[in-house]
Structure formats: C-alpha cells, structure tokens
C-alpha cells in the first residue's frame, strides 16, 4: 500500500445523504420546518474554501515509500467502526475527571447541585451538552437576578463537572461578569487574561473586554 492510497482512503469521509438526513433529524428542533429550502443532502453546499473535500493530489510522496502489506500493523490499527453500538442515552454528566481546568475555578465554590451521575453502568455516559447548557443557564439567571456569588459558584461547578466542556468560553464570560459585579476587578482582569491565553480567537473576547472597560 502506498501513501497516496492512504490519502485517497479519506475520500469516504464525506457524509452520505442518509447520514445527513439523520443529522437533520437530530437538529430538527433548531431548523425551520421541512419544506423550506434544500437540505444539505441536496446538491451544492460544502465549504467554499475547502472545495469538494476530496483527497488532494499528493505531490510529496517520498520515493521508495511503498507497500505496506496487509499485515499485523493493519490488524492492530483498525478500529471496527461499523458494528460499534450506538452511544448510550445521555442524560447526566459523567463523573468529573480530575479537574485540570485551563482556567482555574474561583475561590472555594459553594456546593451547587448538579445532576447526579447515573447509577453504576457498564459504560460512562458522555456528558450532555444540554446538562452543560442548563448549568450555565443557572449561572446566567443568578447573575441576572443580582446574585453574583451564586453565579460564580455555579461557574466553578461547571469547571469541575465540564472541565473540557464545549461551553467553557461562555462560562468564563459569566464568571468574569460575576467577579466584576462583586467588585473584584483584579480577579476579573486576571481571569480575563487567562481567558485570552486559552481562547485567543473567542467570540466572547470582545464582550469580556467591553465589560472590563465599562467598569
């Protein structure tokens, strides 16, 4: 097997119309009702800069790099994808891994109730985005009603339960806002600096710096 065969094998990474239809279904609650426009499984679409997404021509194949036989290395490398069972229902966050947050929690957090981990099951469920969002919604609501301490504690709970959560930038913005509301400007500045280092291109940056400027 040659290197360009490996590269070519990535052609199959495009979603099939059936896969897109399934994804459409999973996101139906976010999309307009069926009938308005083409689905992604129709023609066109695709990422402009990325083109059709086929394998690019490989111009750099090293001479003499050939023939990876069908041997043991292949057997070891292959993951058996097609028969993987579907993911389990995700309703509660997995037990928190060791909290190695890139942005450390602020002070000693107050206990904030979060959904309990599922009872002992064979497989740890993947943390749910809905749970993560719900926790941040609680933090935001607390901030809106003027309870910055509760908002901050909820953000700290988010750090612990969703260390690498998809919404951690949003969490940091809320935490910084809460720190400012508590008059802890130095802590807010420091957290904002850590934020900038961790998420240099975040859409939250502008809001965070506007908050700091407005104080």
């Amino acid at each position: 097997m040659k290197l360009d065969d490996l590269i070519q094998s990535a052609r199959g990474d495009e979603p099939t119309p059936e896969q897109l239809k399934k994804l459409d279904g999973k996101l139906a609650h976010l999309l307009p009702p069926i009938g308005g426009g083409n689905g992604p499984s129709g023609s066109g679409g695709g990422h402009g800069a990325a083109g059709a997404g086929g394998a690019a021509t490989v111009k750099w194949i090293a001479a003499g790099v050939v023939a990876v036989g069908g041997g043991v290395a292949i057997q070891q490398a292959v993951s058996h994808r097609d028969r993987s069972p579907p993911p389990p229902p995700i309703s509660a966050p997995a037990p928190a891994p060791a909290p190695i947050a890139e942005v450390t929690p602020d002070a000693a957090p107050e206990p904030v109730p979060v959904p309990a981990p599922a009872a002992a099951v064979h497989r740890a469920p993947e943390p749910s985005l809905a749970d993560e969002a719900a926790l941040l919604d609680r933090a935001r609501t607390a901030l809106q009603r003027g309870d910055a301490r509760a908002a901050l504690a909820t953000c700290d709970a988010h750090v612990k339960n969703f260390t690498h959560g998809a919404l951690r930038e949003e969490r940091e913005r809320i935490a910084i806002e809460a720190l400012l509301a508590l008059g802890r400007h130095g802590d807010a500045e420091a957290r904002a600096q850590r934020f900038d280092r961790a998420f240099p291109n975040s859409v939250q940056s502008e809001r965070i710096h506007a908050l700091l400027r407005d104080r």
Partner: protein, 169 residues
C-alpha cells in the same frame, strides 16, 4: 454588516465540511454524527454572539476543534477504545471494501501520531485540498507557521509509512 447569519444557512453551508473535519480530526466514524450534532448545537447557542469581526469559518472551525477535543478526552471515548474489538474479516466479494477500510484505519493511525496543530494543517491541506493561505486564515495563524507545520507533518507521516512498510515486510 448586519446581524449574525441564520443558523440554517450556517448549517446547510458548512455541514459537509464540519462532518469530514470532525472525522479527520480523530473522531471515529460511529461517533461523527453525534459530534456534529454537538458542534451545531454549540453553533446555534453561540451564533447570536457572532459579530462578524472574525471570519465565520474561523469561528466555526474553532468550535469544531474544541468539541472534537472535548469528545476525544472524554471517558466515554477512552472506554470504548479499551473495549473495542478488532475484526477485519473479508466477506466474499468484500475484499476491496476491506482494503479501503484498512487504508483508512492506517491513515487514522498515522494521523494520531501527529500533534493536534500538525494534524489540523495536514488534514486541511492534504486531505481537504485547501491552500496554505486559506488554512492560515482558517486557523488564524501566520502562513509561515502553516508551512512549517505542514512540512513537519508530511515528514512524520512519510516516516510512519516507511516504518509500517518495514514492519509488514
């Protein structure tokens, strides 16, 4: 510029790119759909805050990168890795399909040996066919940095293929 683009537009326009990028950044085929769902749920949640001062694709790619990274770190994924069985028996007439899957699995293995920054550049340039300049814009890095990562990634992948070839000989 007006407000942020409509979610549906973002979804329809970029779903294929998101899908294959999720796959190529190390999410197993069986999990790609779930991870894409997660990406677009985050997009939907954060889109109102997109103000157009960054490129939409750069912003979107940042979300893809974080969600994939989150997924790969999760205990769920690790446990699946531990319990997964390897099976690669070719049914009659399926030899070609199996060979393609072997090749794709080997590519996964070699990509897994790259660090994240190099993997991203390799995936976008070599698998997706993007120009270095466009990749630089997408990941918000200097063009020279992209060239440097691409060179290093190519070198490592080539050596990986040589190693596998030698091991199979």
């Amino acid at each position: 510029m007006g407000g942020p683009p409509a979610f549906e537009h973002v979804y329809r326009e970029h779903v294929r790119f998101v899908w294959r990028t999720v796959r190529r950044l190390g999410v197993r085929e069986a999990d790609v759909e779930d991870v894409c769902q997660r990406v677009f749920e985050v997009v939907h949640r954060q889109l109102p805050e997109f103000r157009g001062d960054a490129r939409l694709t750069t912003w979107l790619f940042g979300i893809v990168r974080r969600v994939v990274s989150d997924h790969r770190r999760s205990a769920y994924e690790r446990r699946r890795d531990l319990h997964e069985e390897v099976e690669l028996e070719a049914a009659p007439g399926q030899e070609r399909a199996v060979a393609e899957r072997e090749a794709r699995a080997l590519l996964d293995q070699l990509l897994d040996e790259l660090d994240e920054d190099k993997r991203i550049v390799f995936v976008l340039c070599e698998l997706d066919g993007m120009a270095v300049k466009d990749v630089a814009e997408l990941i918000d890095a200097p063009v020279q940095t992209v060239y440097s990562r691409l060179h290093a990634a190519r070198d490592k992948i080539s050596r990986g293929v040589e190693r596998l070839a030698a091991g199979a000989a």
